[in-house]
């Protein structure tokens, strides 16, 4: 199968995180009692008309912006006509002729190489209702009917499953970070279809296309593309052909399964939606929406690395949007950002997970966190001591130093006092001193241990270390 070139395009449906539905004022929510978030408009009752949720338009403009799309200055909606029980009006209001965004791209990195995945177009539409099949019966839950969606269609520009997965990861990150969608594939707020065809040479025309619908996770997108390439290659290897078709990924089989063969092109009888006038997307509006876009992952990554945060901490921070947002407030501060990231991802994360709290639910103000970072950086607060008082730090508003004091954690920071102890230890341990001078680094650790023992752990470790080295000269 390696002697084929695959061509892959991906279509993604993303539910927008709005308060209400796109064409009515019903709530947009997930996991509620069936049919509790519906009204006569969502149910397609006769005589009802759509209104247009302005929030949807703003989120679509935002999405178009983060996907580097051009934005169409005048848009309208179209009706896509087809009969299906999950389609309350038996037409779906979508955008056919004037998708709001077009000609965009997303930058991905696969095996260390950067590549652009080109976006053909991005349009706004309404979601259908959810049907559940129970034996011979089908149950309909209209809570999802009218939930706003954007559909993002790439050009057929990917050649393997890794690129498709990287694209989806990147898309998810971008849309999640800009508050456009939850992007939870398991809840259906992000759904992917993959179009796959293969051919022998670049100069050959594209091969017959198979569309794999509604794949439930990013890793399954990868598996289904690989399986589909394999399946098509086997057919061609035998000298056979196949018809354009729609398939689905079966999780249990770990393979794609035929849904239907596309005999003729679908006839959706599109025409402009007469109930919604054309919408002018002004530059002013685009400008205002752009202001609401927070710092995106790529920029964060670059910033963090330039501030000396390790690669691994950078990745971890970006995976945790809340911590990353918190961390962003500290970018201009003159602190050790690596230490700050260690604290956030280590003890503080452990506390947050245990208490199921958000960093913003704690008492850790920016000022107190900076104090904490500095105390840890200069070793005034040891990690052992930090563990003892972390809960108090995160639940009270006192300064870190006063907490240390009240909890009896006191460092001996008096140069003279430490020096006296060190001189005593040196005189009591001549062998170790000798070892040190012979180049045994381990000896200094032993001596430090003795110093800490003598001071009951209260000596400022950094200071003690420096003085010890000085005295050993």
């Amino acid at each position: 199968m390696s002697n084929y070139i695959a061509t892959i395009g991906v279509e993604v449906h993303v539910e927008l995180k709005t308060k209400t539905k796109i064409f009515s004022n019903s709530k947009n929510g997930y996991g509620q009692m069936a049919n509790s978030l519906t009204n006569v408009i969502d149910l397609g009752y006769p005589g009802t008309l759509p209104t247009l949720n302005e929030e949807v338009l703003n989120l679509a403009i935002k999405a178009a912006t983060v996907l580097n799309c051009k934005i169409r200055p005048e848009i309208h909606f179209d009706r896509k006509n087809y009969f299906y029980p999950d389609n309350p009006k038996n037409y779906q209001i979508t955008q056919f002729a004037t998708p709001i965004g077009y000609d965009g791209y997303v930058e991905i990195e696969v095996d260390g190489e950067k590549k652009k995945v080109y976006i053909e177009e991005m349009h706004i539409e309404e979601d259908t209702c959810k049907s559940t099949h129970r034996g011979v019966k089908t149950l309909l839950d209209f809570n999802r009917a009218g939930v706003p969606l954007i559909e993002i269609v790439t050009k057929p520009c990917m050649t393997n499953s890794k690129e498709a997965k990287a694209y989806l990861e990147k898309l998810k990150e971008l849309l999640f970070y800009s508050d456009i969608s939850d992007c939870k594939m398991e809840e259906g707020s992000m759904r992917a279809d993959a179009n796959v065809s293969i051919r022998k040479k670049e100069s050959d025309p594209f091969g017959t296309k198979a569309e794999i619908k509604n794949i439930g996770s990013i890793s399954n997108v990868g598996v289904s593309i690989e399986k589909e390439i394999e399946r098509q290659a086997k057919i061609y290897d035998k000298g056979e052909t196949f018809k354009p078709q729609t398939r689905r990924y079966d999780d249990k089989l770990g393979d794609t399964v035929l849904m239907r063969v596309k005999e003729t092109g679908n006839d959706y009888r599109y025409f402009p939606e007469p109930d919604i006038p054309f919408v002018i997307v002004t530059d002013e509006r685009i400008k205002n929406v752009k202001k609401t876009i927070p710092m995106l992952p790529d920029e964060r990554r670059e910033k963090y690395l330039s501030l000396g945060v390790s690669e691994i901490n950078t990745t971890k921070l970006i995976q945790n949007r809340n911590l990353s947002d918190y961390f962003n407030h500290l970018l201009e501060e003159k602190i050790s950002h690596q230490t700050a990231s260690n604290l956030l991802l280590g003890d503080i994360s452990a506390y947050l997970n245990k208490t199921e709290k958000d960093i913003t639910d704690t008492t850790l103000s920016k000022e107190r966190f900076i104090e904490l970072v500095n105390l840890v950086s200069n070793s005034t607060l040891t990690s052992k001591n930090l563990k003892e008082i972390l809960e108090i730090i995160l639940e009270s508003k006192d300064s870190i130093q006063s907490i240390m004091k009240s909890q009896g954690i006191e460092n001996i920071t008096d140069d003279k006092e430490i020096r006296e102890v060190i001189q005593k230890i040196i005189s009591e341990n001549p062998e170790s001193v000798e070892d040190y001078k012979n180049g045994h680094d381990r000896a200094i650790k032993y001596l430090m241990g003795q110093v800490m023992k003598e001071t009951k752990g209260k000596a400022n470790p950094k200071m003690a270390n420096d003085i010890l080295k000085e005295e050993l000269q």
């Binding site: 006569v40 397609g44 009752y45 006769p46 005589g47 006509n81 309350p88 007469p274």
Partner: protein
């Protein structure tokens, strides 16, 4: 004594001075409806109307002239808790749980809904004979049609059953029956009256409007039902205005155009002569009348068929038997439910229009027909705009003939559109248009004239219409006093 034969101001004074109560008007309306016996109604709202009338006894009569007055509502306008059938088997059990915006407005004005009027099924037709419930009759000759699709509303107004009715006009469905029955019917500017709760036929053309026996009452009812509605995105954001404000002003110096197409050989001679005579009258009243050529008018019916049927095929897709309305019993599967429900629920004309509409939007036909029609429609609008740069009004006959027999054949589907050939251009251009009676033919059937003005110039239309109404001073009571004998 019939109170509903009095003028609106007289009735209002009687109500205000407590000489009569709303219940007297309601009872009289039901007596009238029964006596007229025109099959003008699909559903009567007797119990609720009486209840509402009694409630109004405890409400102080304000300056609203329409207070306590009965009104008939076309049966494609949703009324909460009152059957709304669209004259179709598909919805003959449909009880809306919401009011159309116009119904809320009527209620807020303390008017009393007397019943739901008969019409063509889903407003598709021009004689109300496609109604699942049989056609309404014309009070001027009960063997004749009252026009359509708002035939029931026209019929009940012409018969003097009630003073007020609502109709809807997609391709002439208010003005054409108004013409056949000798009443005043206004199709307002597209967007003047909210379409929320009007069961859609062709969304880009549908418009609700008032039907009354005279011009002043018509303007009063438009005052009640018009206004911006945030539930309808096509509703226009104009300031509320008093549509009666120009009534009584003279029409000296007004420039009126009569398109030659409107007096061409597609129109009966008797009607052409009446229009020409009326034009002379208008000139005597100080207006200037020109006969002009207008492009595109002859294409209006074709454009209308394409756009209206295309939109209708989509609008009526929702009637699938799943959530409301008629549903096939014990369907084998979803396909059987769709096919069975729609085969049983829709009548012949509705099915024909859905099929033609689907065809027109299908595959490459969409470009060849539908999108082309949309673009020519823009040209047509422009043509009207150009005429209104030079003229205040366009007038002409409303219909090519007077009302014909209920028994006339229905087998030519184009005939029904040709009945509307003169009224359709107004819908295509989204303009306001009004029918008013200007006389009778040799069989004493009413002849109507339509007055068209530029967008949002309803008040100006009423100005001309009321001046002419006064000048003509026609006797428009079809019963000629015989009914009470």
């Amino acid at each position: 004594m019939k109170y509903l034969d009095k003028t609106i101001t007289e009735i209002h004074e009687l109500l205000k001075s407590k000489k009569i109560k709303p219940i007297d008007l309601v009872e009289e309306a039901y007596e009238n409806i029964e006596k007229s016996d025109l099959n003008a109604y699909i559903t009567l709202n007797k119990e609720e109307a009486i209840k509402k009338a009694k409630e109004l006894e405890n409400v102080e009569v304000d300056d609203n002239l329409l207070f306590g007055l009965p009104i008939a509502v076309k049966d494609n306008i949703c009324t909460k808790g009152l059957l709304t059938t669209c004259a179709s088997h598909m919805l003959d059990n449909f009880l809306p749980i919401y009011n159309a915006t116009v119904v809320d407005k009527i209620n807020a004005a303390n008017m009393i809904i007397i019943g739901k009027t008969n019409m063509d099924e889903f407003a598709m037709g021009s004689s109300s004979r496609t109604s699942y419930f049989g056609a309404p009759h014309n009070p001027w000759n009960t063997d004749k049609i009252s026009g359509g699709s708002s035939g029931g509303s026209a019929s009940t107004i012409a018969a003097r059953d009630v003073l007020f009715a609502l109709g809807s006009d997609t391709g002439g469905s208010i003005r054409q029956p108004a013409s056949y029955t000798g009443i005043v019917g206004m199709k307002p500017t597209y967007g003047r009256v909210s379409r929320y709760g009007l069961i859609a036929f062709a969304s880009s053309l549908d418009q609700i409007g008032p039907m009354t026996k005279n011009v002043y009452e018509n303007a009063l009812l438009l005052n009640v039902i018009s206004g911006h509605d945030k539930m309808d995105l096509t509703s226009i954001k104009e300031q509320d205005e008093d549509y009666t404000r120009l009534i009584g002003k003279n029409i000296k110096g007004m420039k009126i155009a009569i398109p030659n197409f409107f007096v061409s050989d597609i129109v009966d001679n008797e009607i052409i002569n009446k229009i020409k005579k009326t034009a002379k009258t208008l000139e005597k009243m100080g207006a200037k009348v020109d006969y002009i050529d207008m492009k595109y008018l002859n294409h209006a019916v074709t454009l209308y068929q394409i756009i209206a049927m295309g939109e209708a095929s989509s609008n009526l897709a929702r009637f699938d038997g799943i959530r409301y309305g008629h549903s096939k019993e014990n369907p084998k599967d979803i396909r059987d439910l769709y096919f069975g429900t729609r085969a049983e629920g829709f009548g012949k004309e509705v099915k024909r229009r859905i099929m033609v509409g689907s065809y027109l939007l299908s595959g490459k036909n969409a470009r060849e027909y539908f999108y082309k029609a949309l673009s020519i429609r823009d040209d047509m609008k422009q043509e009207f705009t150009n005429v209104f740069k030079k003229y205040d009004y366009i007038i002409g006959p409303t219909t090519t003939t007077t009302a014909y027999l209920l028994t006339d054949p229905m087998d030519d589907p184009r005939k029904s559109f040709m009945d509307d050939v003169l009224v359709i251009p107004v819908n295509m251009a989204g303009l306001p248009g009004l029918n008013m009676p200007i006389g009778f033919d040799k069989d004493h059937m009413p002849i109507g004239m339509q007055i068209i003005a530029n967008s949002c110039e309803e008040a100006k239309i009423y100005q001309l219409a009321s001046a002419l109404e006064k000048e003509l001073n026609l006797d428009l009571n079809p019963w000629g006093g015989k009914k009470d004998e």
